[in-house]
Amino acid sequence: MSRTESVAFDNPRRERRADTFAMWVFIGSEAMLFGAIFLVFLVAHLDFGPAFAAASKHLSVALGAFNTAVLITSSFTMAVAHMFALHRRWRATVWALLATSALGVCFLVVKSMEYGKEIAEGMAPLLGLPFRYEGPDPVHAEFFFSLYFTMTSLHALHLIGGIAVIGGMIALWRTASPANRLHRVEAVGLYWHFVDVVWMFMFPVLYLINR
């Protein structure tokens, strides 16, 4: 019985299939969450295109592009970890997982540098901070930055969640059976890649409006 995590299954292969399916359903659900926020952004973008384009120019494309590359790399290392897990090369798996979470931390560090710069320049319309914006239509630029902070911080929260889960998984590594290790790596990997996909859309939508 201990070969499966859930009493409902009597066979680890079926359990792994169920886990994978559950992750995909969860990802579908998450896609709806981000979809709704993207919809809000799209409606606003259609209404205030020029203001949004102007405001978008105040974001740092260099840092954004760098961070995108970091996330792509982390997805790659995560996929590599899964590959090692399939071949039961556990030590290599752990190293790849550690690399993945380190890249996740790197993304967050760069992101917080960006936040810091934007707050210092007075472009964060949060908590009553003064909004100083040199450009046309500051009202809707403020709207843009509201959406920018909402979307990116929601994404960052998901990333923090992913890093925490990888950490927890490594902490429990010794107690898990090989089957459990494999389907945990698989489940976390799916989540990680999904968070990456979200950023693949967020980056052009926020940073690259008609440079």
């Binding site: 209404d47 020029p50 203001a51 046309p136 239509d137 809707h140």
Partner: protein, 317 residues
């Protein structure tokens, strides 16, 4: 009214009898279908109760023909009701051209109306019988909803845009006016009466209210006080689009698009001037967002519309 118990609301507009025709048809249909189903279920329940001598042979648990036919019948009936309701509904968008235009402003927790002659009313609305009336609605704070049950009409007043409702009152009288969209603490107190009067009495009532300043006239005054005329005026040094006859005309924009200068465009141009810049002009106009309230905005819109000769019946965005 029977024994003072209200079963049916009064019908006091041209819309009311048509909506009621659909309503009562639906009611008859629902009653027939509902009672038939009830009868069927009760009938079966009695006939096939345990121990009854009813014949139970030849039972089937599916019948393709029967299932297909009730599916198709439901579809046809549904489409008839859909078409009927939609036909009545789309007329809301097409008020008669000669309609009397009244502005209504919802705010927590009262309705403020301005007659075409400028007479101001709070929680009261006087209209003549037999004449189309358009009410242009705006909201100062939260969403409100203009609802006159006897007219069978309702329209939300949404902050940040202008909406319209029109009707032809058919019966002189005194009718409830409600706010139908929950709007905060005193929501249920927000409302009053619509008084429908014969045209002569309406004219007399208007006179007794004193010849107020029309909305457009107030708007014109505001236009000068706010300094709009400094740029938009004929003799100004700053080049700004002339506004004579602008309402309802197409405007070429800087980004090669063209929009019709409807209420939405004019409102946005005052509050968000950078959003749609007229082609050939510098985007120098400051935003008046926060400097004027909804009531003042309604005045400015009325003034701008008054600069156009054509009838200014509501066009929805």
């Amino acid at each position: 009214m029977s024994f003072g118990i209200p079963f049916f609301p009064q019908e006091a507009s041209s819309e009311a009898s048509q909506v009621d025709a659909l309503f009562y048809t639906l009611l008859a249909f629902s009653a027939v279908l509902g009672l038939a189903l009830t009868g069927l279920v009760v009938g079966y329940a009695v006939k096939y109760r345990v121990g009854s001598p009813a014949d139970r042979t030849g039972q089937r648990s599916r019948n393709m023909w029967l299932e297909m036919s009730w599916t198709i019948a439901s579809l046809i009936i549904a489409f008839i009701f859909f078409g009927w309701g939609a036909t009545l509904f789309v007329r809301r968008d097409h008020p008669p051209a000669d309609a009397l235009e009244i502005t209504g402003l919802g705010k927590q927790w009262m309705w403020e109306f301005r007659q075409p002659g400028g007479q101001r009313e709070i929680n009261e609305l006087h209209v003549p019988v037999g004449k189309p009336v358009v009410v242009s609605l705006a909201a100062q704070d939260v969403i409100h909803s203009f609802f006159v049950p006897a007219f069978r009409i309702k329209q939300d007043a949404v902050p940040g845009r202008t909406t319209h409702i029109w009707f032809i009152a058919t019966e002189p009288g005194h009718y409830h006016l409600f706010c139908a969209q929950y709007c905060g603490t005193q929501h249920s107190e927000m409302g009053g009466w619509v008084t429908v009067m014969a045209p002569e009495q309406y004219a007399a009532w208007l006179n007794s209210q004193g010849e107020g300043e029309t909305l457009a006239a107030s708007g014109e005054k505001l236009f000068r006080v706010l300094g709009c005329s400094g740029c938009h005026g004929a003799s100004s040094k700053v080049r700004a689009p002339a506004l004579e006859g602008i309402f309802g005309r197409p405007v070429a924009l800087e980004n090669q698009q063209t929009v019709i200068a409807d209420e939405r465009y004019l409102r946005d141009s005052i509050l968000i001037p950078k959003k749609e810049i007229a082609a050939g002009y510098e985007p120098v106009m400051p935003s008046f967002d926060g400097l004027i309230d909804e009531g003042e905005l309604q005045m400015l819109l009325a003034y701008l519309k008054s600069l156009s000769p054509q009838p200014s019946a509501g066009t929805k965005p």
